[in-house]
C-alpha cells in the first residue's frame, strides 16, 4: 500500500463514521455491530500471522486476547492511565505471554503443540482470569471507553473510527510482514523446516518471533474488543470462543489476509444484524444460535472440501488453469514429454569470495551416524578442495544422503567433525552451517511447495538481506532497497530459466524435472562457497542430465565454485567429477580420480554384485567369468 493511499484510507476511516455518527440518525447500535466485526477481524488477522503464515496451530488464541483485555482494563480503569498506554502495554504483555506459550513449540509440532495451547487457555479461563485481585469477584474487569485529552470515544461511532484506524494499521503491518524476509521466514518454517534451515533461517527464533508478533497483535485486538464490550471476565474468552476464531480463520483461508479479515468481519456482523432485522418471533429468539449452527456447518464443509479453506479451493482452481497454460507455453518449443534443461544462471559471488586453488574447502573426519542398530555412516572421512567437483557415489543405502545430512547439520553424528574453510562446524545447527557457506539440495526436492517460483527464490536469499525485524515491519527505505535488489535477482534467474510463465505459480504445479531446476537455482541464490547436490538428475530428462554436466563445469570454471555431488547416474559422475568418493555400507571404500575408481574391484563389486564382478574378471574366481564373457559383450 502506498503511503498516500494509506493516508487517504485513514482519513476516510476516521471521517466517515464520525461524520455519520454526528449528523445522521443511524442508531448507535449499528456502529457497535460493525465495531464487533472489526474487532473480530483484528483477532483473525492476529491469529493468521501465527497459524496461516508460520503454520503453528494455536487453539488457545483467546488466552492472548484475554491478556490484552485484562491488561488494558486494569491500567485504564484501576490505574487511571491513558488508553494509549493501555493498548501499548496490552500488546507488550500479550507478546510476552505468547513467548512463554510458544516455548514448547521448539520441541513440539502440530497436534501436540495444539494441545499445549488449549491447556494454556483453559488454565487462563478456569484459574488465572478468576484470581480475585484481577477480577474482584466474578464481575470481571471494566474497560472504560478511551479518552485522549479533549477527544472522547464514548460514542460507538467515534470508537468505530478508532477501530478502523487500528484495522488499517494491522493491515499495513501485515503487508509489510509478508513482503519482508521475516514473513518469508514464517512461510519457510511452515512449508519445510529443513529447507528453511538450509537457507539459513533460524527455526527456533523464527517460531518464537511468530508467537510474539501474533501475541502482540492479539493483545491489542483483545484490548480493542474489551473497550468495546466495556466489561470482560473469564467467560468472555471461553474455549468455545477461541476455537471459533480458529474456525473463522480456516473458513477465510489460512494465510489469506483478505480472506481472514472478511471472514472475521462477517462472523462479527451477521449474528447481531439478523437478530435486529428479522422480527418474526419463532425464529428471532433462536437467531444467534442458528447462525452458530450455520457457521459450524460451513466450517465443516469448508475443511472437508479443502483444508486451506474456501479461498484455498478457489485459488487452487485458478492456479490449475494457469499451470496448464504455462506448461503449454513452455513446451511450445520442446518435445512434449521433455523438461527444459538448466541454462546458465546469474550466480551471486560466493560468501567468502574467490578461493585460492588448493584451499581445503570441506574436511569431513571420522563421521559416525547410527540409527537404532544400523550404522548408516561408519567412520567416513574425506576432503574437498577449492575448485573441485567431487562425486559421492555408492549403491542405494550406502549412506550418502545420511552423510550429507551430517555435514549440513540435519542429523546428530555419534562422533566425527566437519570443517568448512578451516572453521569447525560440528557443534553448529543447520542454519548456521548454511550461513557459514554450505548450500545444499535435497533428494526429495527441497522447495517450499505452496510458494511460487519467485517466492522460493526470494526465500532462498533470506540470509542475504540483513535488515532487522522491526525495520521489516516498518518497511523503512533501507528495507525497500534491499528487497528491490532481492526481487531483481529473483527476476533475473526466472528470466534465465525461461520460467516467466511459472513465476507466480506454486512450485507444486511444476513437474519433477522443473522442480529440480528451480531447486538448484534456489541453492545457487544462497551464494554458497560449497554447493552440495543430492541426486540432481533424479526425475530429470536425459537431455537435461547431459546438459547438467556443462552447467556444473561452468560453475567450477567460470564462477570458481566447489561442488560435492551425490549421484546415481554414474556416466555423469565419471564425466564431470575431478575426484570421486565411493561409499558402501557407510564406509568410504575408495577415493580417487574417475579412471582409478573404474578399475577398483571393490567398487565394481559394491555396484554390480559379486556375480557381475566375477564375470568381469575382477575377482579371483575366473572360471565362470571366462564362459560368460561373450554374453556380456554381446
Amino acid at each position: 500500500m502506498t503511503s498516500r493511499r494509506a493516508a487517504a484510507l485513514a482519513a476516510l476511516a476516521v471521517v466517515a463514521p464520525v461524520l455519520l455518527g454526528h449528523t445522521t440518525g443511524i442508531a448507535s447500535v449499528w456502529y457497535r455491530i460493525v465495531a464487533i466485526g472489526v474487532t473480530y477481524a483484528l483477532m483473525t488477522l492476529s491469529l493468521n500471522v501465527l497459524m496461516g503464515y508460520a503454520g503453528q496451530i494455536s487453539l488457545g488464541h483467546a488466552g492472548f486476547l484475554a491478556v490484552g483485555a485484562y491488561t488494558s482494563g486494569l491500567l485504564t480503569s484501576r490505574a487511571d492511565l491513558s488508553f494509549v498506554i493501555g493498548f501499548i502495554v496490552a500488546g507488550l504483555v500479550g507478546g510476552a505471554v505468547a513467548l512463554l506459550v510458544g516455548l514448547p513449540a521448539l520441541r513440539l509440532r502440530g497436534l501436540l503443540l495444539a494441545v499445549t495451547t488449549i491447556g494454556f487457555l483453559v488454565m487462563m479461563t478456569e484459574s488465572v482470569l478468576q484470581w480475585r485481585w484481577l477480577s474482584r469477584g466474578s464481575a470481571g474487569v471494566e474497560l472504560p471507553r478511551p479518552e485522549l485529552g479533549p477527544i472522547s470515544l464514548a460514542e460507538n461511532s467515534d470508537y468505530l473510527a478508532f477501530l478502523l484506524l487500528l484495522f488499517l494499521a494491522f493491515w499495513i503491518l501485515d503487508e509489510h510482514l509478508t513482503s519482508s524476509r521475516l514473513g518469508r521466514g514464517f512461510l519457510g518454517i511452515r512449508e519445510d523446516e529443513q529447507v528453511a534451515a538450509s537457507y539459513g533461517i533460524d527455526i527456533a527464533r523464527t517460531k518464537l518471533t511468530a508467537f510474539v508478533l501474533s501475541g502482540v497483535l492479539a493483545g491489542i485486538a483483545g484490548a480493542a474488543f474489551g473497550h468495546l464490550a466495556l466489561l470482560v471476565n473469564s467467560s468472555t474468552f471461553s474455549l468455545q470462543f477461541s476455537l471459533s476464531i480458529v474456525a473463522w480463520v480456516i473458513i477465510g483461508g489460512l494465510g489469506s489476509r483478505v480472506g481472514v479479515a472478511v471472514s472475521g468481519l462477517l462472523f462479527g456482523i451477521f449474528p447481531p444484524t439478523f437478530e435486529r432485522l428479522i422480527t418474526w418471533d419463532p425464529i428471532r429468539d433462536h437467531l444467534d444460535n442458528l447462525v452458530l449452527v450455520i457457521g459450524a456447518t460451513l466450517f465443516l464443509v469448508t475443511i472437508t472440501i479443502n483444508p486451506n479453506g474456501f479461498v484455498g479451493a478457489v485459488r487452487e482452481k485458478r492456479e490449475e488453469k494457469e499451470a496448464d497454460a504455462a506448461r503449454k507455453a513452455l513446451r511450445a518449443g520442446l518435445d512434449d514429454a521433455e523438461d527444459p534443461t538448466l541454462p546458465s544462471l546469474p550466480v551471486p559471488p560466493a560468501r567468502h569470495g574467490d578461493l585460492a586453488p588448493g584451499t581445503t574447502v570441506l574436511e569431513v573426519s571420522d563421521i559416525v551416524v547410527r540409527f537404532g542398530g544400523l550404522t548408516a555412516v561408519d567412520h567416513a572421512s574425506f576432503e574437498v578442495k577449492a575448485g573441485e567437483i567431487v562425486g559421492l557415489i555408492g549403491p542405494n543405502g550406502a549412506g550418502k544422503t545420511t552423510l550429507f545430512d551430517a555435514i549440513g547439520g540435519f542429523n546428530q553424528p555419534r562422533s566425527g567433525s566437519v570443517r568448512l574453510l578451516g572453521r569447525d562446524l560440528s557443534d553448529l545447527p543447520a542454519h548456521e552451517r548454511a550461513n557459514a557457506g554450505l548450500g545444499r539440495t535435497f533428494q526429495r526436492t527441497g522447495l517450499a511447495m505452496a510458494l511460487t517460483v519467485r517466492e522460493n527464490l526470494l526465500l532462498a536469499q533470506y540470509a542475504l538481506a540483513s535488515y532487522d525485524n522491526l525495520a521489516a515491519l516498518a518497511r523503512t527505505s533501507a528495507v525497500r532497497d534491499a528487497e528491490a535488489v532481492l526481487g531483481a535477482r529473483a527476476d533475473e534467474v526466472i528470466e534465465a530459466l525461461g520460467f516467466q510463465a511459472f513465476s507466480d505459480l506454486p512450485v507444486r504445479h511444476l513437474s519433477g524435472g522443473q522442480r529440480r531446476i528451480v531447486e538448484i537455482a534456489c541453492t545457487l541464490a544462497t551464494a554458497p562457497d560449497l554447493l552440495m547436490l543430492d541426486e540432481p538428475t533424479a526425475g530429470m530428462a536425459p537431455a537435461a542430465v547431459e546438459n547438467l554436466a556443462d552447467r556444473l563445469r561452468e560453475l567450477r570454471d567460470e564462477h570458481g565454485r566447489t561442488i560435492l555431488l551425490i549421484e546415481h547416474h554414474v556416466p555423469l559422475v565419471l564425466d564431470v567429477c575431478d575426484r570421486i568418493v565411493v561409499l558402501d555400507q557407510g564406509r568410504v571404500i575408495a577415493t580417487g580420480e574417475p579412471d582409478a575408481i573404474l578399475s577398483d574391484a571393490n567398487v565394481l563389486q559394491a555396484y554390480l554384485g559379486e556375480r557381475a564382478a566375477r564375470q568381469a574378471g575382477l575377482l579371483p574366481d575366473d572360471d565362470v567369468a571366462g564362459e560368460r564373457d561373450g554374453e556380456l559383450v554381446g
Binding site: 490449475e320 499451470a323 496448464d324 506448461r327 514429454a337 542398530g373 544400523l374 550404522t375 549403491p395 542405494n396 543405502g397 533428494q443 507444486r508 504445479h509 511444476l510 513437474s511 519433477g512 541426486e535 538428475t537 533424479a538 526425475g539 530428462a541 546415481h568 547416474h569 554414474v570 556416466p571 555423469l572 565419471l574 558402501d584 555400507q585 573404474l598 578399475s599 567398487v603 565394481l604 563389486q605 559394491a606 555396484y607 554390480l608 554384485g609 559379486e610 556375480r611 557381475a612 564382478a613 564375470q615 568381469a616 574378471g617 575382477l618 567369468a625 564373457d629 554374453e631 556380456l632 559383450v633 554381446g634
Partner: protein, 254 residues
C-alpha cells in the same frame, strides 16, 4: 514360450500421476507364473508408483491391472490381498508393537475370514519354515533384530497364501548383510512355487535373483526381457551405470 499361459500379473498401459503431473506414461508389464520378476530403475523413474498401482494404493488413470487374468483395477487394496496379493513392504516392515504371532495372525486376516480352519496348519508350516519365529512367537516384533524382522515380514506376507508376492525395495534402509539374507529367503520362497515381483534400485542385489527384468525410465518401460538374454550394455545405459559395466567388460577382455 507358449502364449496361452495366463500371466500371473499383467499391467496394460498404466498411466497415473499426482495433480497435473503424469508420473507413469502407459506402463506395460508381465509377470509369468513361477518367476521372480524385477522392476529396476533409477530414483524417480516411477518404480514405487508402479508398485502402488499394483497394490491398489494409487489409482490408475488409464490402463488395467490383471491378476491371473482377472481385472482387479477397481478393487481397493484390502480386497486385492484377498484376491491373492501378498506384500513385503518397504521401510518399517512389521507391526513392531505386536508380537511375532500377532503379526502372523494379521497376515492371515483374509485367510481366517474365508478358511479359519486352515490357520493353525498354515502357522505350523510357517514355524517349520522359520523356526526362529517360533522361538520368538511371544516377543514384540520391534525388539527383534533387523534380519528377523525381515524374515517376519516375508512370513506375514505368506500367511495369506498369496499367488503373487510383491516386494518393495527390500534393500532400502537395511544393512546389506540382512538384504543378502532376505534375498536368499525370497529365492527359497520362489522355489516353493510363489511368484515374486521385486522392485529394486540396487542392481547388484536384484540381478542376482531375478528371472526377468523391466527397466523403468521416467515413467516408461524402456527395456524388458529375461535376465539371461539381457543386453547388459543397454541395461547399464538405462540404469546410468554405463561405463562402470563396459569398463569392467573391457578389462576382463584383455
Amino acid at each position: 514360450m507358449s502364449d496361452d499361459v495366463t500371466p500371473r500379473l499383467q499391467l496394460d498401459g498404466i498411466a497415473t500421476g499426482f495433480g497435473g503431473n503424469t508420473v507413469l506414461h502407459g506402463v506395460d508389464l508381465t509377470v509369468a507364473p513361477g518367476e521372480i520378476a524385477g522392476v529396476l530403475g533409477l530414483n524417480g523413474a516411477g518404480k514405487s508408483v508402479t508398485m502402488k498401482v499394483v497394490a491398489g494404493l494409487q489409482p490408475a488413470w488409464e490402463g488395467r491391472v490383471l491378476l491371473d487374468g482377472h481385472d482387479i483395477t477397481d478393487l481397493p487394496a484390502e480386497e486385492r490381498v484377498a484376491a491373492g496379493l501378498g506384500h513385503v513392504t518397504q521401510g518399517r516392515q512389521v507391526f513392531d508393537g505386536l508380537t511375532v504371532e500377532q503379526n502372523l495372525r494379521l497376515g492371515a486376516y483374509t485367510l481366517r475370514r474365508r478358511h479359519p480352519e486352515r490357520y493353525a496348519e498354515r502357522l505350523e508350516a510357517m514355524f517349520t519354515r522359520f523356526p526362529r519365529l517360533k522361538d520368538r512367537r511371544s516377543q514384540p516384533a520391534g525388539t527383534m533384530s533387523g534380519g528377523e524382522q525381515a524374515m517376519l515380514a516375508v512370513g506375514r506376507a505368506l500367511m495369506s497364501n498369496p499367488s503373487l508376492l510383491l516386494v518393495d525395495e527390500p534393500s532400502a534402509g537395511l544393512a546389506p548383510a540382512i538384504v543378502a539374507e532376505l534375498f536368499d529367503l525370497l529365492r527359497s520362497v520362489n522355489e516353493d512355487g510363489v511368484t515374486i515381483l521385486l522392485v529394486e534400485q540396487n542392481v547388484a542385489f536384484a540381478l542376482d535373483v531375478v528371472d526377468s527384468v523391466h527397466v523403468l525410465q521416467r515413467g516408461r518401460v524402456v527395456h524388458a526381457g529375461a535376465t539371461d538374454e539381457l543386453d547388459r550394455d543397454e541395461l547399464a545405459a538405462h540404469l546410468g551405470i554405463g561405463r562402470l559395466l563396459t569398463a569392467s567388460v573391457g578389462r576382463s577382455g584383455r
